[in-house]
Symmetry: C2
Subunit: 273 residues, 2 copies
């Protein structure tokens, strides 16, 4: 079910620059009992993305209203909010008058086994290398061919996520998630100045670490260092926090700190509901 | 006017991955007297792009048929052919059964002053730096935020194109065109192994240079070297060949070789009509 500029629609104008060029940004949110979780954080990142792409950001109050309307009565679902530069002609030059398209869509919540949260997931390394792009790094824009090509590297259902390297062979993120490493009670996550998406749960976990006095460092690791971590976990707004059970076959224990941060995320998530 | 999978339509399904993720490729062709110019070359590049993105390429005979039907009776226009991965669910994983969307659209031919072809255009350098991405380099995919952000750097109508550098400060292409330099009777154009779009007119010019025994080298130049070129010109399927009259204010003469290659392109173009 979709709300396109406030109206129920199943299709979008062919001239929309979101379709022509991937010219827009999006957010994916978990819906619990009609409530979009961490909505204000998502709307803030959406506005930041619009700003970076020079798209006039829609009124966050309007987006929040439409989100609440669309999600009303939904027990558990995913809400995707998209904002594109709207209709325009052929060519990369922007329309003189930009009329952004806002689109909210409801999707079923994925049927993840509970063991993914409890005992963790199996992860691999991708061969695909993310390109450096400081202008687009951090934001969740609609140019997603990199993630699509990386995700196409495996069909094996027993592997839940793949980690992506940058062109200097440093791990940046998963195809759909952010990654954290624990080593000697210090929490590490890659800095995203050159590439990667700065996830909302990543932000929440970083704040939680600071609050819980867990030392936090922004560092991108190479393959060997990653394989020597004590614990690894993945985050995004739909999966929450998934411990990594295996990385390229090497088994990781989910010890205290992952559990502690995961519990803190669960607590904050309940506060939202 | 659009043909979406063979039917007249103005809108595309919201679930289309072309819209969700820019998950597709496209071609822009000049139409003269109902004839799409260099159609077989464009269809070949389109198929190559599909192949790179793991999208099953539509039958080129079908695309050619639809192109001819759509363009029938059009004196001078632009045809855009798009192929996307088609409808799919949320997430970067590909649908189990890919049903590509093919979309052909007709656009008015831009109203370029004839002096652009004759005496040349004014060009600037862009601040935006293209990111290196060997998996996506060369093909004309629908992830075009880089070109949009670069093109947004100037609003001044007296400047017709901007040249883009890679992250190593070497010139790769224009925002919408390929670039050629002439120096001491040798023709240079950047190699596109890491970034850039391998244009159809670029290919035709390279073949022409070889046929006309003009020495050709694939080299990406830095700013200073570019400013010391004897001649510079730009190519794409809509503009054809545009000599560069000024680059960042420095004036360039359009001497023999640009005119010779331009004339050769005009000749081949007439053969197509």
């Amino acid at each position: 079910m979709y709300l396109l500029n406030g109206c129920r629609k199943d299709s979008v104008d062919i001239t929309d620059r979101g379709f022509q060029y991937g010219d827009g940004v999006f957010e994916s949110l978990e819906i619990v009992n009609g409530q979009p979780l961490f909505l204000s954080r998502h709307l803030r990142r959406l506005a930041l993305g619009c700003d970076r792409l020079l798209i006039p950001a829609p009124d966050p109050a309007l987006l929040a209203d439409e989100a609440t309307t669309l999600c009303s009565g939904k027990t558990h679902a995913v809400l995707k909010i998209m904002v594109t530069r709207g209709p325009g002609g052929r060519g990369y030059g922007q329309p003189t008058h930009i009329k952004p398209t806002r689109l909210l869509g409801l999707y079923p919540f994925p049927d993840f086994p509970t063991c993914y949260q409890d005992s963790g997931v199996a992860v691999r390394f991708c061969n695909y290398r993310l390109s450096a792009n400081p202008m687009l790094a951090g934001i969740k824009h609609m140019n997603r061919l990199e993630q699509i090509l990386a995700r196409a590297e495996w069909q094996d259902d027993s592997v839940q996520e793949g980690l992506l390297f940058d062109q200097n062979d440093r791990i940046i993120e998963g195809t759909m998630s952010n990654v954290f490493f624990l080593k000697d009670d210090v929490l590490y996550t890659p800095d995203l100045e050159q590439c990667g998406v700065a996830g909302i749960v990543r932000e929440i976990i970083m704040e939680s670490a600071i609050r819980l006095a867990i030392p936090l460092r922004l560092e991108a690791w190479e393959k060997l260092k990653a394989l020597q971590a004590d614990e690894i976990f993945l985050t995004n707004s739909v999966i929450g926090v998934w411990p990594v059970k295996t990385l390229e076959g090497r088994v990781f224990e989910t010890r205290g700190l992952t559990k502690k941060l995961q519990a803190e995320y669960v607590r904050l998530r309940y506060e939202e509901v």
